[in-house]
Amino acid sequence: MTVQSSTEPGTAGRLPPLRSGKRRRPRPRGPRASGRTAALYLAPTGIVLLAVMAYPLYQLVQLSLYEYGQAQASGGAPLEFRGLGNYADLLGDARFWMVLLNTCGFAAVCVLGSLTVGIALAVLASRVRWLPRTLLFLAALGAWATPAVAGSTVWLFLFDQDFGLVNEILSGIGLESMEGFSWTYDRFVAFALVAGEVIWCSFPFVMVTMYAGIKAIPGEMIEAAALDGASTWRTTRSVLMPMLRPLLVIATIQSIIWDFKIFTQIYVMTDGGGIAGRNLVLNVYAYQEAFAGSSYGLGSAIGVVMTALLLLITVIYLRVQRGFGEST
């Protein structure tokens, strides 16, 4: 319910029209019965989503309750119901807690990073003339368009121990200790490197979204606030922020969803989760447990935990945002 009301008509009223006059709430047509046509139109989507999303989701939960290893997967051994056994194993495993902490910390850094960079550059883009703005947008579109694997390899190469440009430059300007420095060895340095790449390719979405929001604010409004004697800070807080909040909510939720389940960058840049699995996040951990370790039941339990956490974080975030929106 919360989910719906914050992205549905509720926000439509708070947002200024981008194309004036054309905006209106989605109003379903008159009383003519359209159930049958609607069913026809929705059927293809429904079939795909039921088969490839809803059913696997049900199976994921089911698998997580069984002992399901190599023998069971090949049909060589009967299924053994474990109840919450897999979950008990997980909760009792220090490694799981480390991975969970990794995931939350890493996602938080990536989300905050892409929001900060994205918003700052959106504001910057709205204050400059055509040429610098176009350059900024082209660069951002370039980073956005770069496939995750390609982006990971380029960043790895830039920070390569022996042939990387970054080490060359750092040692060239006198930091001798940086010669041959490994950016993927230390746990936190490796995470920071991956986070850098993730922020690089995900801030453009935030930037484009927020830029559209800033552009949609009529100049007269800021002018009127200034004439009324409002300070820049006051104008930002009382005029701009309320108008930008719905967009900010969307940008944040999208970032949380993306960054919480990152797989490719971690897998490629830390070679499957870092030395001794120090750079594992939940998604990579589940993959390793299931497909490298043949513990499909345990892997599924990790998948369930991940899904539940993601939904929980999103719902809490929406709640907080809504409460915040109503109190101001």
Partner: protein
């Protein structure tokens, strides 16, 4: 007073325009520098792809090369059958874009323009579906594709069809959500007029709505395309033994070797993989930006 307001809004810089000029120049310098930094990894990738091996594996960080070569591309295309993987990626992403375009458009129309029971419930379900981390479903999807394979081999493990199915599920919820804004922006009067002219629902959908929401469809297809094109996890999980059906993201990793990474080939492969998306993005950037804006304000 009126004149003052109008002038300042046209220039968008406020009344103290002259005082703000140095600030804007500074902002413009910063913007250009930031653009250069953001674009730099792409430049370095392109440059390295054309550098001879000797220059890549040296301690000379010159940001140009006087002896560009296609040697790295040749290696990628011959040692690793890159053309084949490229084609596989194009097929998967292409089919995903076409199918999701058609069926998400229909769903968006039904959810926006039609009134029927359970509409709100379906809307909430689409929004929730967007939050389901499809990556977490890799394990059950693997078993699903394995059993599908015995009935319909094309959609089973080791075949491109399995990737198409998964990426469809990936992109549909977001696509529908994005298109809804565009469909809703079409005034209802148009449908009334069309009905008066004797057009049925189907004709109205395809001949009136479809062209009107084209910018939204373009933006949506770019995002579906990049989703399918980028995928690493499912290609790695589903295409196990039939390497000829592998897609691009995995093909590049062949050049990472314990004995020393072939950076020239890796950068050439990454370039080949990035260029189609870059072209796509630049061609449709206007629609993409307005599409995102249109989708997020609904």
């Amino acid at each position: 007073m009126t004149t003052a307001v109008r002038t300042s809004t046209r220039h968008g810089t406020g009344r103290r325009r002259s005082a703000k000029r140095p600030a804007r120049t500074l902002a413009e310098i910063v913007a250009v520098l930031v653009a250069a930094v953001v674009a730099f990894p792409l430049y370095w990738m392109l440059l390295t792809a054309f550098k001879p091996t000797g220059q890549i594996q040296s301690t000379d960080p010159r940001p140009w090369t006087l002896s560009p070569t296609l040697e790295n591309f040749r290696r990628v295309l011959t040692v690793d059958d890159f053309g084949r993987y490229f084609l596989n990626s194009v097929v998967v992403a292409g089919i995903v874009v076409l199918v999701s375009l058609l069926i998400s458009f229909l769903a968006a129309v039904a959810l926006t323009k039609f009134r029927f029971r359970g509409r709100t419930v379906l809307l909430v379900m689409i929004l929730v579906a967007q939050m389901v981390p499809v990556e977490a479903l890799t394990i059950p999807l693997f078993f699903l594709m394995r059993s599908v394979g015995s009935v319909a081999p094309w959609f089973g493990l080791n075949h491109l069809g399995s990737l198409v199915l998964v990426h469809l599920a990936f992109s549909l919820p977001f696509a529908i959500w994005m298109l809804r804004g565009f469909v809703a922006a079409v005034p209802d009067e148009l449908e009334e007029a069309a009905t008066l002219d004797g057009a049925g629902r189907f004709r109205f959908t395809w001949q009136v709505l479809f062209p009107l929401v084209a910018p939204g469809l373009v933006a949506m297809s770019v995002l579906s395309f990049i989703h399918a094109w980028n995928d690493f996890l499912f290609a790695k999980t589903f295409i196990i033994s039939a390497t000829e059906n592998q897609t691009l993201p995995l093909a590049i990793l062949v050049f990472f070797k314990p004995t020393g990474n072939d950076w020239g080939a890796i950068m050439a492969g990454s370039t080949l993989m990035t260029i189609p998306v870059l072209i796509f993005f630049v061609l449709v950037q206007r629609h993409l930006v307005s599409g995102i804006a249109g989708a997020v304000k609904t």
